[in-house]
């Protein structure tokens, strides 16, 4: 298909490079430098999609971020992306895009029947209609509405594109590279400030690319090009195009999304698709410009009705005509600029001006060019379904209430201009107040809250001369404050046309007996009638009106609709706009991809991975790893085609029978030093610590102030004022913060220092009846008898020439030792252990066997110390000192904590001795009782007891102390299981604890 609407001699596109692309399966051509929108319009395509609610045909309304309609499904680089704005997407070779929200096709859309039923779709329709019956909501209404109202389709595949985050600091961040942005950036950069200049489009310059102005004897574009090329050469300047500053957060932190590869057919290797910049700026200049407002009339959503500034942009940047019989409908001078551009390119426009008798330079120019102008005229209704074919126009009375001389005129597009709305999103996000400027009928930023300054059109300044003057000055003043330098550049002379004031009129009344839809929000299909209805129904706050009607809540966030909505509310309510106020602006200003927000933190990179020094040995020996906090720990070592169950059973059995070794490097380790260390431990732990001798370890339990168990572990007195504390793997970081809190904030008088040594020590637990023999081989010189190294004893020795710490502590319930060496020597230690242990049938065991061993011994761990249990619940009441005070003690006498039937840990065995009990099962008296079945407790941990060869679980049960011997049921609705069980002691194996002392 040929580009029938492309001109030959105007625009910034590269006509030497033809690009082919597909839209809805059909092939078209465009040029390098086009957007998908400009290329489609060049080919005469104006039907892009269907509207949200009524499925009315949708075309293009804008030419950039403000576009409310033209969201497409984009296929690129074997990925699919929903809701990409065709006005922002740059054309690349092979681009494929499809319409969204239409079925079966954009030309014939079944959902359009909603349009015929529109009297049934008023504001709040969904709230009013789908209330009854309640159960229908999930099953019928919601899925149907979602399908009918959905936009694009999100991919369910893993996104293989790469996204990055970057942190940057600067003196001055300038958001927007229009005249105000360029002027302030240039002036600040010349004064030595470190600046970042961000532009969301591919081309720098903003309105300078399309406005007929002259700066310092250059046309606008030449001036912009020269400033940019000079800025790019300066070392203190970062200039970024395709970069949208979308959020203004606390303490001058701004976030910018840079689209690096979206305009290319594929993403190159090592280059991200998008990059998210976190920028901390000393000062911010908001030069985000303004967005043209629509005028509102009947069927003003018909494809072919668009902003006059967009029509001018398509013409001057892309050399594309949005129509060949344009009707310009305006309430200010901007429409004339578009008309003049049409005329200069051989097209005959007709201007309808709502003003009665305006007079300005530009109006005179239009008159001199013999452009047909009708004053006090309005468009009543656009005619045509999928494209504008004609328009009914009328003369409007001076009070703007009565239409007369209604006539139909031919046109193929209607370019509207309802004056300009400053883009105050960033300023408002920063917390700045806004004020209503009556001269421009719009809000502008008021007093700053953070260090930001809004300049140019974003601040309601619409003349170039004034914009440049203030922007140069502000760039200089702000940079001077930071750099303390005083290099001032002169402001260039400006030639521009003076404008006449705009007309406040914006919404065309309906002719007698007509009921045309007049749209405010084009993406969410919110019409004038919807707002009026909401107000009649009693909605007053603009925030409520917004939510009830969904005005401004679509993906364009009401960039073109908000202000007209406010004007309407104020007119109906007979208030002035500032009294109505505006809704809150929240980031992001434009949609941001989830990929950019997540950055590199996906999959394995979503958190750091810690590996023990013995990791490679585990890998070589077929360890299957499991995430334990940030650590990777061997879960079991697979032999042949063993299952997890078989392998862990084998490993645990070998510990009970011979000897096993487990990597315990991951346990948290905290070094505690200082003369008051004993006193500190005495306050932190529930048991007594003042009399622990040097060379001895003790098990300790620590509580939170609310009496709940926080963590447990052993602490060893290395020397007089030096202790080595161990914590569970999961709680290591929290315990350190907890200790630091008490030392720094609560008891600063204690002379104690704590530091994490988790990564400094590699640890191996050697457990089993033959562990002493293994240890003796490792440390032939030391006496390992019960006298030489008793249970809970500690020694230092050397292991084949390297220094080692030996603790006689046990988690498995067997005779056991833990050996620590410096991390660098971890692998050496491990290999020596395996080497000398060979003759005793030593085997490495993983966390699954470790759990089995502790569960059948009744040792509590994370699944019982779950943040809801007190020492009593875990049968640790013997660890609680009655004599001294400690953290959390005062809470232990709370009523529920001392209740007679308080929960307690017990053992659970299935009656058939075969069926494993799923963790998390509920314990109940009667499996078939009426729901809600009273719950007595829950199963916290389950294993296959290797001692008795049957399943065994731990559970925390109400009145646990009196439950031993009772027969209950373990219910697991998730796994659809009901298992008859018996409650037994939690100490299933070696209840007297003889083995650890053997």
């Amino acid at each position: 298909m040929s580009q029938n609407f492309r001109l030959n001699n105007i625009g910034l596109i590269n006509r030497n490079k033809k690009i082919s692309f597909k839209f809805n399966g059909k092939k078209y051509f465009g040029y390098e430098g086009d957007t998908l929108a400009s290329a489609l319009i060049a080919n005469g395509v104006h039907l892009i999609g269907r509207s949200f609610k009524y499925h009315r045909p949708r075309g293009f309304f804008g030419a950039g971020v403000d576009e409310p309609y033209a969201a497409v499904q984009l296929n690129r680089n074997n990925e699919t992306e929903p809701n990409v704005k065709a006005t922002e997407q740059e054309l690349f070779e092979g681009l494929e895009a499809n319409s969204v929200n239409c079925w079966p096709s954009v030309n014939f859309d079944i959902g359009a029947i909603n349009n015929l039923l529109k009297m049934f779709f008023p504001a709040g329709f969904y709230y009013k209609t789908f209330m009854w019956p309640k159960s229908f909501w999930y099953k019928i209404y919601e899925p149907f509405i979602r399908k009918a109202a959905g936009l694009g389709v999100a991919s369910t595949k893993h996104d293989k594109e790469r996204y990055e985050h970057k942190y940057e600091y600067c003196d001055l961040l300038i958001a927007g590279s229009g005249p105000s942005g360029l002027a302030s950036a240039y002036s600040a950069a010349k004064n030595g400030a470190k600046i970042i200049l961000a532009e969301d489009k591919a081309r720098f310059g903003g309105t300078l690319l399309t406005d007929d102005v002259n700066i310092g004897n250059q046309n606008g574009k030449e001036w912009a090009d020269n400033i940019i090329s000079e800025l790019k050469k300066m070392p203190n300047v970062i200039v970024k195009n395709r970069s949208q500053v979308f959020g203004y957060y606390d303490h001058n932190m701004l976030v910018m999304s840079e689209r690096i590869s979206d305009h290319l057919p594929i993403t190159q290797k090592y280059i991200p698709k998008q990059r998210l910049w976190y920028i901390r700026a000393k000062e911010v200049i908001i030069s985000s410009g303004s967005i043209e407002r629509p005028l509102v009339f009947g069927n003003n959503d018909t494809p072919g009705v668009m902003l006059s500034s967009a029509a001018k942009e398509y013409l001057k940047i892309y050399g594309v005509l949005v129509g060949k019989k344009p009707l310009i409908f305006t309430n200010n001078d901007s429409g004339y600029e578009t008309a003049i551009e049409f005329k200069k390119n051989g097209i005959e426009p007709i201007i309808l001006d709502t003003r009665k008798n305006p007079n300005s330079e530009i109006i005179n120019e239009a008159k001199n060019l013999n452009i047909k102008i009708k004053f006090s005229y309005v468009v009543v209704v656009a005619k045509g379904y999928k494209k504008v074919k004609s328009a009914e126009i009328a003369k409007i009375s001076d009070d703007k209430k009565i239409l007369s001389n209604i006539e139909n005129i031919d046109c193929d597009c209607i370019c509207v201009s309802g004056f300009w709305t400053p883009t105050i999103h960033l300023a408002s996000q920063s917390g700045a107040k806004t004020k209503f400027n009556k001269d421009i009928d719009a809000f502008v930023p008021d007093k700053s809250k953070q260090k930001e300054t809004t300049v140019g059109a974003a601040n309601g300044v619409y003349t170039l001369e004034e914009t440049l003057k203030t922007s140069f000055d502000i760039g200089y003043q702000l940079s001077k404050k930071i750099t303390l330098k005083d290099n001032r550049v002169s402001v260039p002379s400006v030639v521009e046309k003076k404008s006449e004031v705009h007309d406040k009129f914006w919404c065309v009344p309906l002719p007698e007996g007509k009921n045309y839809k007049r749209f405010l929000d084009f993406q969410n299909d919110v019409s004038v009638a919807d707002i009026e209805l909401a107000l009649r129904e009693g909605y007053r706050s603009i925030e409520h009106v917004k939510r009830y009607t969904t005005l401004g809540m679509a993906t364009d966030q009401g960039k073109t609709s908000n202000l007209n909505g406010l004007q309407l509310v104020s007119e109906v309510e007979n208030k002035i706009v500032p009294e109505v106020g505006h809704t809150t602006f929240r980031p992001p200003y434009t949609p941001v991809t989830i990929g950019a927000i997540v950055g590199r933190e996906v999959g394995k990179h979503s958190k750091p991975t810690r590996k023990s020094p013995m990791h490679q040995w585990h890998e070589k020996n077929n360890a299957i790893f499991v995430d334990a906090g940030v650590w990777l720990r061997p879960r079991y070592y697979k032999r042949g085609d063993e299952t997890l169950f078989e392998a862990s059973k084998r490993e645990a059995k070998n510990v009970r029978k011979n000897v096993g070794v487990c990597d315990v490097t991951t346990l948290g380790k905290i070094d505690i030093k200082g003369p008051d260390s004993a006193e500190f431990l005495n306050r932190v732990y529930t048991n007594a610590w003042l009399k622990l001798p040097v060379g001895k370890a003790r098990y300790g339990v620590m509580l939170r102030e609310d009496g709940i168990v926080m963590d447990d572990g052993t602490t060893t007195r290395i020397s007089e004022n030096h202790y080595h504390m161990t914590t569970t793997t999961a709680q290591a970081a929290n315990v350190l913060s907890h200790l630091e809190y008490y030392l720094q904030i609560v008891w600063p008088e204690l002379d104690v220092n704590v530091v994490s040594t988790t990564e400094q020590w590699a640890g191996a637990a050697i457990a089993g009846p033959k562990s002493r023999q293994v240890l003796q081989k490792l440390f032939p010189k030391i006496n390992l008898s019960n006298e030489g190294l008793p249970f809970m004893g500690y020694l230092e020795s050397d292991l084949f020439g390297i220094s080692a710490r030996i603790f006689r502590i046990s988690f498995s319930g067997e005779l056991a030792y833990e050996v620590n060496v410096q991390s660098d020597n971890g692998n050496f230690m491990w290999e020596k252990i395996m080497e000398v242990g060979k003759e005793f049938n030593i085997e490495a065991y993983g966390t699954e066997a470790l759990s089995t061993l502790r569960i059948e011994m009744g040792h509590v761990a994370g699944s019982e110390l779950d943040g809801r249990t007190i020492p009593y619940d875990n049968s640790l009441e013997g660890m609680v000192s009655k004599k001294k005070d400690f953290i959390g003690k005062r809470s232990l006498n709370r009523e529920a904590f001392v209740a007679d039937d308080r929960q307690k840990v017990v053992g659970v065995v299935p009656l058939d001795k075969k069926t494993s009990i799923p963790e998390g099962s509920y314990l109940v008296k009667d499996a078939n009782a009426k729901l809600p079945n009273p719950k007595l407790g829950h199963v916290s941990a389950s294993c296959w007891s290797v001692e008795y060869d049957n399943p065994f679980s731990l559970a925390i049960v109400k009145d646990g102390k009196n439950m031993i011997g009772q027969k209950l049921f373990a219910l697991s609705p998730l796994k659809n299981k009901s298992i008859p069980v018996e409650i037994v002691s939690s100490h299933y194996v070696d209840p007297k604890g003889e083995r650890v002392r053997s």
Binding site: Y249, D250, H251, Y278, R280, E740, Q744, I745, V746
Partner: protein, 88 residues
């Protein structure tokens, strides 16, 4: 994201810190008789102030010092920061 001036390290991003709650809370002294009400206040009850608030932050990915920060809970303005040992 806040920018917090650690009195030991200087200006740092909020993501180096962990929030630690109301800094004006004083733990009852050890071995002292404390009424149920008093203890309940200490463990559970916190004011949810709008405006100037003195709070604790832990420079967890930095110097690991607990610090005091005077912050406006509505505007996030930080007026001043103190070492744990400093009185206001």
């Amino acid at each position: 994201m806040l920018h917090i001036k650690c009195p030991h390290c200087g200006l740092r991003s909020q993501n180096e810190f962990a929030y630690g709650g109301d800094a004006s809370v004083k733990r009852p002294e050890l071995n002292k008789e404390v009424s149920d009400k008093e203890w309940n206040h200490f463990v559970y009850l916190r004011k949810s102030l709008r405006g100037k608030h003195l709070e604790l932050w832990h420079h967890i990915s930095g110097c690991r010092q607990w610090i005091k920060v005077q912050r406006d809970t509505a505007t996030h303005e930080i007026f001043k920061t103190f070492k744990a040992s400093e009185e206001i």
